[in-house]
């Protein structure tokens, strides 16, 4: 590499004092032949190691062309003799994830909740997964800890719209409430704009006082309630009729049981939507979540006891 090469220099290359390449005496490398005010530039050879690595990448790319999908040819492409695709890899990776999970999740295929809840070893594995499922799918509405918020019921207390039995909870998750699923649970609080405003106000005061137990049967609103509301909310307003109408006599609320909110509820009606999950979650995952939700409530119970 240290041979002297000369090349022609055009006359307008004013920077060049001469076009002679020479060997730098200190490093032993060629110079480029350029010279700026007496400063010459070394023509340092490309490091051998990098050249070798570069050659290896070329060799690898030829091997890759043979093994992997590589060259486009019109409407198709060379598939490579391994027949691998990005999509296929993703699917088989996903199948592998599912298989590992299936080793314990398959126990939840059969909703024998009493047996499942008693298996402490199984729960140690399953509950962390349930927490993740809940956070991915349910937490935006029901809250990270299941405590709900205005319009979205608290799942961590002992008060239920439908039922706190894991089997029923699984059904709620599967079909949803007022969802687009054909078998969805249906719950509608009708608008009572047909009642006079003063009647609505009386009812609102009555309903607001219910949780404190400060109502009396002599109250004229009590008759209004019996006529209009009891068919769904129950004679004593404690709900439990399996029609999604909540108890109005306890401290648990969906939208709120202050006078203003109740008036809004009466004027416009309510029909909360809980989406159906049968298309997104497997039945085993739904059963797992049902057990998790049921336990949220009983954990809370232990705390308040």
């Amino acid at each position: 590499m240290t041979t002297h090469r000369s090349r022609s220099v055009s006359p307008d290359d004013v920077d060049f004092k001469d076009g002679i390449q020479e060997v730098d005496p200190v490093t032993g490398y060629d110079t480029t032949g350029h010279r700026w005010n007496g400063i010459r530039e070394l023509n340092t050879p490309f490091p051998r190691l990098v050249l070798v690595i570069l050659m290896l990448t070329f060799i690898y790319s030829v091997i890759a062309w043979v093994l992997l999908p590589a060259w486009p040819i019109g409407k198709s492409y060379t598939h490579g003799i391994l027949g691998l695709t990005q999509e296929g890899e993703a699917i088989s990776g996903f199948v592998a994830i599912e298989k590992t999970r299936q080793s314990w999740l398959s126990r939840f295929d059969k909703p024998d909740f009493a047996a499942l809840a008693a298996d402490k070893l199984l729960l140690a594995k399953a509950m962390p997964a349930a927490v993740r499922l809940f956070e991915d799918n349910c937490a935006v509405c029901h809250g990270q800890k299941g405590t709900g918020g205005p319009g979205f019921p608290n799942l961590a207390d002992a008060y239920w719209l439908w039922s706190g039995e894991p089997k029923e909870i699984a059904q709620t998750i599967t079909v949803g409430i007022n969802s687009t699923d054909d078998d969805a649970r249906f719950a509608q609080m009708p608008a009572f704009d047909s009642l006079s405003r003063s009647d609505r106000k009386k009812l609102a005061d009555y309903v607001t006082a219910l949780p404190q137990g400060k109502t009396s049967a002599k109250d004229p609103a009590s008759a209004l309630f019996a006529d209009n509301c009891a068919p769904c909310h129950g004679d004593d307003a404690t709900g439990g009729l399996e029609n999604g109408a909540p108890s109005l006599a306890d401290h648990s609320v969906i939208y709120g049981q202050d006078r203003h909110t109740v008036l809004t509820t009466l004027a416009h009606g309510r029909q909360g939507v809980m989406p159906a999950w049968s298309n997104r979650l497997s039945s085993a995952e739904i059963n797992l979540l049902a057990l998790y939700v049921a336990q949220l409530a009983s954990k809370q119970n232990e705390r308040t006891k």
């Binding site: 486009p72 999509e87 993703a90 990776g93 996903f94 994830i97 509405c141 979205f152």
Partner: protein, 245 residues
Amino acid sequence: MIPIQKLHYNLEKVSMGLVAAIIFAASIGGIVEIAPLFTIKETVEVPEDLRPLAPLELAGRQIYIREGCYACHSQMIRSLSDEIDRYGPYSLAAESAYDHPMLWGSKRTGPDLARVGRKYSDAWHVKHLINPRHVVPTSIMPVYPWLMEELDTSLLSAQVSTLHRLGVPYDTSQLENVKTDVLAQSQPDSDEAEGIAKRYGKDVAVRAFDGNPEKLTEMDAVVAYLQSLGTRTKEPYKILSEKPK
């Protein structure tokens, strides 16, 4: 000096020529990788059941672009196993065949939205868009309360026609009824609501998305659009149902 070295040597002295040569060299990779995607059948096969966006959904898409939602949300599930596990089947290129421009994105400050349709209720979306902190206390998503204002539909017919000219298969009846359909999709009890199912399929959501059928708002449009994401073709879902056991 071998000829190629000579070429390079001479090129270095013509700066515009060098620029052109650099652009040419750098585009080879792009040409080889990207251009075939337009000819290889596998990538361009549009599913038969893919439907174009209904007018209200299209209006929502325009607002989605206007508000820059794509800056934080991708609409492309990558073909990686953990993405399938979290979001569902990976996105097919053909799913966005009717999107001009497509909104795949790559920045995920928030979650991917490609399969968010039907996951949450309309009421949740409305609450969340007005102020995300009302439902997700730790959210860093901005508030969009002005979406409750009236939807401007004056350009919508022109937008649908433009898409039609770009190859989106809106048929004559769809093109003629843009003005009726945009309103009807948010008024489930109106006489015109049936037209939506007739023209766009019975899977299209016809609801008072913002809770008020009387007023057509930008919120109606955005929520209708969000509820349509991932629901316009069943093709991707076959990936998982036909997977090897």
